[in-house]
Symmetry: C2
Subunit: 218 residues, 2 copies
């Protein structure tokens, strides 16, 4: 099995039984999450920026305006920690301290840098569009040079990573089994609604099937 | 209007028109989010840990095992950045670069420390339970001393903060209005499903109305 080697940075200390260093497990969470939280330090000040991400092989990507502070900082090769969290449900237990949540989270570590070169940038952005909307890139006009220039794409080799997953019912103590309170789980799912056309859209343009029955990445 | 004063750390640089420093706006996002991402640095290594949070007045709280690395580090008074992000929808546009997401995010900054004292800890944890499950704390048995000791509660005064919000239709360029592709938004909502009883639950205990028709915090 292809696994990451945990170090003091990536080792899951709290509830270690929920930790995994399996590459496939980590990547499945990265791919299923819509947004990530990128952590980096400006001096002694940590910053956590939410952004959309995507993955190709053993690299994680995100993007932003070429002017953004996060990307300016990372351009210098600052260490980053990128965390993706998917909340799957609430765990309602028999005692206050055993209440919990069901979730999947992945933390990945590496040193991120902007990718250089027009073609590499374009290919990466195509992956972003097609991850969320399979096949859509091919239906769009060619990007303009000024758009490509104004956007930085950041690439980070996934050097180290861990996943943490909780699922299933509450884990109450045997001595609490007589408590007369309900216990169980409430699933939480991110659900796409019906597409709303841009008020400026030509009404002759129909919503494509892929968007009408939109399925989030898994 | 009660607003935070932006500094180079909290100022929204990318899409500044989406930024807000209004205390009420920031707090509404903190209160509506189920989980936060806590960023802090261990030396030059940033770490981003997802956890559940709650707010009372101008303080943000989160908790964890007294043994957790994050809380050990923060006990020494390390600076933290806590970000809450709520994804509200996908923005499908007429060109690749105008695709976006609708979201609400809040970044708050401060120096976090564990709270001391049995009563202060208990009161804070009651707020956590009752934020998610109004009235539930009163239905649960008294916490045990060993449970209280094993759990750290972290409190951070919200010293500085910003919000960033995108909503509404795609913002395409006038010169793209003739593109023959669909454009609009797809709303995304976190939806609670039907409660699932713990397999070990006494079948005579009914699910309370508050959980049967569970409404996420707003």
């Amino acid at each position: 099995m292809d696994t990451f080697t945990p170090t003091p940075v990536s080792k899951v200390k709290r509830h270690p039984e929920r930790g995994s260093y399996d590459r496939e497990t980590v990547y499945a969470i990265l791919d299923a999450g819509l947004v990530c939280h990128v952590g980096y330090a400006l001096g002694d000040q940590p910053l956590v920026t939410p952004t959309i991400h995507w993955r190709e092989g053993d690299r994680l990507y995100w993007h932003g305006s070429a002017a953004s502070r996060m990307l300016e900082t990372l351009a210098a090769g600052v260490k980053a920690c990128v965390t993706v969290t998917i909340v799957d449900g609430l765990v309602v237990a028999r005692s206050a301290f055993t209440h919990s949540m069901n979730y999947r989270s992945a933390m990945v570590f590496g040193t991120a840098r902007p990718i250089e070169g027009r073609e590499a940038k374009l290919q990466a952005l195509q992956h972003l569009i097609d991850r969320l909307y399979p096949g859509r890139w091919a239906t769009l006009r060619e990007p303009l040079e000024k758009e490509i220039k104004a956007t930085s794409v950041i690439s980070m080799p996934i050097e180290e990573a861990s996943a943490k997953i909780r699922k299933g019912p509450p884990l109450d103590y045997d001595y609490d089994m007589g408590e007369q309170v309900w216990a169980g789980t409430i699933p939480l799912t991110l659900v796409p609604g019906a597409p709303t056309a841009d008020p400026k859209l030509d009404p002759k343009i129909a919503v494509p099937e892929m968007l009408a029955r939109y399925a989030l990445p898994r």
